[in-house]
Symmetry: C2
C-alpha cells in the first residue's frame, strides 16, 4: 500500500483544482514562462486556499540544486569563541536574505564523516569552512572535486581558493605599534593554544609572525606565549609572564577567551591596567567591552565576515571558471580604556588614556 502523507498537498492537486496542467502551476510560480493573468490568479487562489508549498526535496532533485549552503565548523572540543557565534549569525542572515538555507556540519580538519555527507551526498550547493589550517585536507579535497567553497582564513596557497580573513599580521603589528607609541619597550604576546599553533592554524601563525616582525622593526623586546582558550589559562599565563618577564608593561592578545583570566592574573599580581600594564589585541567587541577596563582592540567584524563569506560562495557557485576572489579585512583599533603611557621608568609620561 502506498504511503499516505495526505496532509502534504502537491502540485498535481493544485493543478486539478485550478483546472490547469501541472506545468502551468509550476510556471505560474517560477515565472519562467508567461501565464495569463486570469489563470495566474486562479492558481494563486487555489494555492492560498490549500496552503500549498512546493516540496524542497523534489525541487532540488529536479533542478539539480539544493539552495542550501554548508557551514563546516570545528567540534566543540576546542571551545567556541564569541566571535564564532556572530559569524554564524552573519552567515545565516545573509544566506536567508539570498534565499538560501544553511546546513551545519561539524568536522575538524581530520574527520571526513560528517563532511562526506555534505558534499558527497550533494546536500549543499557549496560550503564555508571555518578554522582553516595552513595545510588542510578538506580544502585539498574540495579543490580536487571542484566543489564550490570559501574558507574563513587562508591556506598556504591562498590564490587557489576563495576566502575572507582578518589580516592578523598587520593587526598585531598595529597593536605593537600602538604600544610602542605609548612608550612601552617590553611586550608579551598572548597567542591561541599550543595545540592550535602546532596544528597549523593560520591565524595563530600569522599573528605571531606579525608580533615578531614588529618587535624587530621597532627595536623592542618581546616574548610570545601560547595560551589555552579559557579564563584559567589566561590567569596562569599572566602570572607566568610577570614571573619570567616582570619588566613587561605591554601585552598584545589574540586570545579572546582567555582575556578575562588574563586581566585577573594581572590585577591579582598587583598590576593595575593600564597604569602598570597596557593590554590590547584582537577581539570581538562584546568581549572587549565586557572586561574592566574595556579593551583597546581591533574589533573582529564577525558578522560582516559571515556576510562576505556567503557572497563569495554564491559567486563561486554561480561561476566556477572565474578565479576565486578573496577579502582581507583590517578593522581599525578601537581605543578603549586598557592602554596608556608606559610607566615612567620605561617611558616619559604617565597619563592613562580613557578611564
Amino acid at each position: 500500500m502506498s504511503r499516505l502523507e495526505a496532509s502534504a498537498v502537491n502540485i498535481g492537486e493544485v493543478a486539478r483544482r485550478a483546472k490547469v496542467s501541472r506545468s502551468t502551476v509550476s510556471y505560474a510560480l517560477s515565472g519562467k514562462r508567461p501565464v495569463s493573468e486570469a489563470t495566474r490568479q486562479r492558481i494563486q487562489r487555489v494555492i492560498d486556499e490549500m496552503g500549498y508549498q512546493p516540496n524542497a526535496s523534489a525541487r532540488a532533485l529536479a533542478r539539480g540544486e539544493t539552495r542550501t549552503l554548508g557551514l563546516v565548523f570545528p567540534p566543540a572540543g576546542s571551545h567556541y569563541t564569541d566571535m564564532q557565534l556572530d559569524f554564524i549569525g552573519g552567515v545565516a542572515e545573509a544566506a536567508a536574505a539570498r534565499d538560501y538555507d544553511v546546513l551545519m556540519s561539524m568536522a575538524d580538519a581530520g574527520e571526513e564523516q560528517s563532511f562526506q555527507r555534505l558534499v558527497g551526498e550533494r546536500r549543499v550547493d557549496g560550503a564555508i569552512l571555518m578554522e582553516i589550517r595552513l595545510e588542510d585536507a578538506r580544502v585539498d579535497r574540495m579543490l580536487r572535486t571542484s566543489f564550490p567553497f570559501v574558507t574563513i582564513g587562508r591556506v598556504a596557497r591562498p590564490d587557489d581558493t576563495a576566502w575572507v580573513d582578518l589580516d592578523h599580521l598587520t593587526l598585531v603589528r598595529r597593536c605593537v605599534q600602538h604600544l610602542s607609541d605609548l612608550g612601552h619597550r617590553h611586550l608579551a604576546f598572548v597567542n591561541r593554544s599550543e595545540a592550535l599553533l602546532r596544528a597549523g592554524y593560520e591565524s595563530a601563525r600569522r599573528g605571531q609572525d606579525g608580533f615578531e616582525l614588529a618587535i624587530r622593526q621597532l627595536g623592542l623586546r618581546g616574548v610570545a606565549y601560547p595560551c589555552d582558550d579559557d579564563a584559567m589559562a589566561g590567569e596562569r599565563l599572566a602570572e607566568r609572564v610577570l614571573a619570567e618577564h616582570p619588566e613587561t608593561t605591554g601585552i598584545v592578545t589574540v586570545n579572546e577567551a582567555s582575556l578575562g583570566g588574563l586581566y585577573r592574573g594581572l590585577t591579582g599580581a598587583g598590576r593595575t591596567i593600564p597604569r602598570d600594564v597596557s593590554v590590547t589585541g584582537i577581539a570581538g567587541a562584546r568581549w572587549a567591552e565586557a572586561v574592566t577596563p574595556s579593551l583597546t582592540a581591533a574589533d573582529v567584524p564577525a558578522h560582516e565576515m559571515g556576510r562576505i563569506a556567503i557572497d563569495l560562495l554564491l559567486e563561486r557557485i554561480g561561476d566556477q571558471r572565474t578565479p576565486p576572489r578573496h577579502q582581507l579585512l583590517m578593522p581599525p583599533i578601537v581605543l578603549r580604556a586598557s592602554t596608556g603611557s608606559a610607566p615612567v621608568s620605561s617611558g616619559d609620561h604617565h597619563a592613562p588614556a580613557g578611564s
Copy 2:
C-alpha cells in the same frame, strides 16, 4: 583514480558496472533485503572504485524524510549570548551522532518567512525552537499542523509540547536564598531587556517571579530591573541601582551579556565585590569565569540542553502519538568568588568606600 570526480555517479551506473539491477544495489546498501555475499562484495567494490554516494535529495524524495532537523533561532537584533552558541554546538553534535543534519533558520516569533521554508517546504523532519515566548505563533502553527518540534523554554501551556528548559524560577529563588543565608537583606534583580519581558519571553518572566516570590517568603527587600543585553546597559544599571537603592548589598542577575558592565558600574561606584556587594545569578560557565571576581552562579548546561533537545525531537519524529515529554533542568549553584557575607552595617545604611 578518478574517485571523487565521479560524484555525478548514480545508482544506475553502479548497477551497470556491477551487472546487477538498481534495486539490488539499493538493497545491498540498506540491508533491507538479503543479498548474496558474492554480489554484495562485487557491488561494494564498484562503489568504492567510483566513490558512489547516494544523492540526498533523491533519497529524501523517495523515502519521504530528509534526515535533517531544523534549528530556529532569533535574528541577531537581540544579541546572542554565549550559551546560545554552546547550545547550537550541542545540537549539532548530538544530531551528527544520530546521523542527522541540522538546518539553521533565523526567525523570530513574528516572522514566518524563513520559517515557512523549513516546515512548509518539508526541508526538515522536525524542528527546535529557541527563545520561545509564552504565547508563540510558531508553536501554535506547529501544533496545528502536527509538525514534530521541541522548544527551548516553555510556552504558556507546557503540557502540549515537548521542551527542555531551565527552572528559572527555582534557580533565581536559590540565588536569593544564597544571598539571604549570607545575611543580605536588600537585593536587586537584573532581568533581561524590557523588550523581551514585554514580548513575553518565558525565562525572563519566570525568573522575575522567582525573585519576587523568594523576596516575599524570606522577608527581604528587593527591586527588579530590566536590562538590555550589553555591557553598557549593565554599567548604567549598576549606577541606577546604587542611586535608587544605595542600601543594596546583593544582586541576582540572569542577564549574562550585561554582567561585565554590571561589575564595572559597581566597582566604578566604589563598591568592591564581594566585600560591599555580592553578585550571583544564572550564566554560562565561561562568562562566570571570565569576570573578576568570578561569578557564583548556576551554570547553564547549554551543551547538554542541545543534546536533550535532539533526543526529545527524535522521539517526537519517531512517534507522534505519545504525549510529549519535557525536561526541566536545575543546575546547582557553583560557588565562586563574587558572593560573601553582607557588610556589618547592612540594612540601615551604607558607607561607600570612596567617600
